[in-house]
Symmetry: C3
Subunit: 356 residues, 3 copies
């Protein structure tokens, strides 16, 4: 190779000083949900809701076919924002008010846009600050499938640049869970054996904590799963980079993309709380409490905070829950439980009287 | 979190004393075969039959498209029964008289039901007994795709409960391999190059043993594959549980779900015996002879026991075979062959005169 | 098992002395591109071209849906030839003049044929020689999707057989990249945010070398990926075989099928050079320069050799590039860069004036 004119290496993503409240990102790519993506993720999470496994059941319920689970809807919409919003993030701080809209099916294409709501420089560390965005995912018919806010801690590129705290008014995005209507003519009872018999709305008691019985050990599979979501952040897939400077990286090894335990905890909870759900209403707040690595085993629990009516839907009720994911580490020869994920989650659940 | 009212942890599955001859299970979930599931499993097995790889070939032969291989049909139907039948099993003893029915295609939904045929307490160990079930898988048109019997060794929950040996009459399930008719107008010869030239019915000699040339090393991939089949038994995916008490678990490590070597051995045999097959007729009996772990390499061989006519199908013949899977372990510094799988398998194979 | 009449073990593939110039192979199998295969490979490569991710974008551009990336077209066509051409190869020497034809979509079936162009015994080692073939992949409508030549070093079965150098005239296969026509009525600008803004034809300067920023660590996933392409060569998937005789095998461990870094390097280059490409025109020459193993991290760079017009397509331009893949090894405590892949690649890229 003759001497090149220039050797280029692009900088990817934005730094703290690049974000301006009111700025809009129309994120790159978009993503069509194929049967490949659908099956790999739905099964990885070990979800048990027949809407995501059995097309006959889904169609009987008035959906067009297999229903993409809310966790996967979230991941497909969220992952498109990573390059623009959190490529140069130090930590994901919080998801806020994540609301689901129209159902998503195999074959749908989701495209995401984000608005910068605010930028807040850190008072303690002048190389960091918090970026607050609102992200909305829409399908090919321009219907909203998901909207949420997110706070993420982002590095400055130039430590000496002054970043002023600023914010803009958030314009709420209309988004409400849309489900097929209840139809008394549908033989729901003939399908009731396909889901658990003891997880209808009437079965839940506020105050209960359900420890979900299944654990799932993570392997290096996370690398391919993360790429499948178009999240190419190097801390998930570039071991060579970690090896050059292990002290710089959390755990000195590849760290698992938070979206993966997010989905997995949703799936692990399914047999106990979401088998008879028709959808998730809202994730009020969520955060990743501790990192996850290949070799860790993920567990989950759900606390039933409240049960309440859904005015428009007498056939359903809402469960307000807290989903917690955890793992165990060994400290001083003893096993110590460590929370890795926290999600305040409201679920729309079928009432037995109407469906079973 | 305030002090919970109750901390719940559900018990999953049935114990020996829960089974009653005549009892019927309509298993949960059901499963629609997506292109994701299809491709991952079909390719994992390294099957070479063009019916499962080439839709042009499949349609020319009168099928609707890519044909789901019998091993995957078995897995999809079988896995749905695990929670109800073998969640608390100590060992899978035997598959009996597994017969295939109508073809299965991508997009089909399979749902399984089981009938308890018998319960036999162990004479040697009062904490165990054998449960004998008959399972049938049907598609969305209520056609039978598969039926079989299974014997599995199950734990008691309460060792002191007396379980009486009991059985019920088995009502045979009508199920016969259904294939597209032979059509002399179809240019089968123009497709003959797509399969092996030396595996037509006329090529097989009773008494031959064919050692299949390919081996396949298993990795931690088995965890995701097993979840994809809705088998969430913890011995396959929860390393933390194993680590707490390694002596209790076979091999002190995650054990691979038997359905995986079952499928893999079928695929490894394909180039030598099933490339020119239109389907498997029956698995008379099958068992897992030894456990399999990540790191093991799987091999297979097929013994041709007999060749016989198929009265309704002069264009085909039946091969009665024994498929054996094996691996190697090191004992005293030497490599020792260990059988891991045994299956008496009858295959419907094309006759050269009609097809090539 | 009674004493078998015969124990058979088939020899697979051809040896040097089996190849005759002019000989034609109609390879076995064929392959229908399912959504499973499509998603797993497209995402594994971390490609960012929206034609392969976003069906809305693909259809707006006049394609029928998601477009199978050229790397995957190559792999599907190539892998079918392995058993007949390179089962007993020692090394893959070179790909030559690989030209792409009609677009490939999910649901298409690709079947490959090869013609032996020449056989050249080695002057240095009488157990080896070079086989030169021309391979063409066609879809179910008999349209050419890909054609290329390949040189591979193959073992003799019988070292004492004399193989004479021979060749035949190559009959060129008509094959040219076919793309939907430019249509000024299509609102391309409304889609421009879905790809990078700085990778239009006008942005490239001959002489530049672009170091692609992403690296991807390989894991044991390569075994399943390789089987998914019907390449069952044992050096990729049979660890037991390697363990019996580690000195005989490169690296003493499973070696990764070259098609995998081939695809991965194409994907890693995408954000910087092929985001706004409508297809690859030709791979003039390509080779695998060093082996790749699980645990290695793959990087890539693209040298822009030249930019030129495409006479029939004023809306596009051609980039002539060299794609190089590399990894790092540790030698004497220092990190050493090792080239693993080399490809002279011409890409058809959109012009900003027409599309953005």
């Amino acid at each position: 190779m003759s001497e090149p004119s220039r050797i280029l290496r692009k900088q990817i993503g934005n730094f703290l000083e690049d974000f301006v409240p009111g700025q809009t990102f129309r994120h790159k790519g978009g993503k069509t949900v194929t049967e490949g993506l659908f099956s790999i993720f739905t099964e990885f999470t070990m979800t048990t809701n027949p809407l995501a496994k059995n097309a006959r059941y889904g169609r009987a319920y008035g959906f067009r076919g297999l229903v993409v689970p809310p966790g996967l809807v979230m991941l497909v919409a969220f992952s498109q924002t990573v390059e623009d919003v959190s490529e140069n993030a130090r930590a994901n701080l919080e998801y806020v008010d994540m609301r689901f809209g129209v159902p998503v099916y195999v074959g749908d294409t989701i495209e995401s846009t984000s608005v910068v709501l605010g930028v807040t420089p850190s008072s303690r560390d002048k190389s960091l600050g918090v970026v607050h965005v609102q992200t909305t995912g829409r399908n090919q018919h321009d219907e909203v499938v998901l909207t949420y806010e997110r706070k993420v801690q982002v590095w400055k590129n130039d430590v000496d640049i002054t970043v002023v705290k600023a914010a803009t008014e958030v314009t709420p995005v209309p988004c409400q869970l849309r489900l097929p209507a209840y139809d008394a003519a549908v033989p729901y009872r003939s399908l009731a054996h396909l889901s658990n018999a003891d997880t209808y709305f009437e079965d839940f008691v506020a105050g209960d904590v359900i420890e979900h019985s299944r654990g799932r050990t993570m392997t290096s599979e996370h690398i391919a799963l993360t790429a499948m979501l178009d999240n190419t952040s190097q801390v998930h897939c570039n071991q060579y980079m970690i090896d050059q400077n292990p002290e710089r990286f959390v755990g000195g090894q590849l760290i698992i993309f938070g979206g993966i335990p997010f989905q997995l905890c949703l799936g692990l909870s399914c047999p106990d709380v979401a088998d008879n759900s028709l959808g998730d209403l809202v994730y009020t707040t969520g955060r990743h409490s501790a990192p996850l690595f290949a070799g860790d085993t993920v567990f989950a629990s759900t606390e039933i905070v409240a049960t309440r009516d859904l005015p428009d839907r007498p056939d359903l009720g809402a469960l307000d829950t807290i989903l917690r994911g955890h793992k165990f580490i060994t400290r001083d020869g003893a096993s110590e439980k460590v929370e890795i994920f926290y999600l305040e989650r409201s679920i729309a659940v079928k009432r037995r009287l109407h469906y079973a």
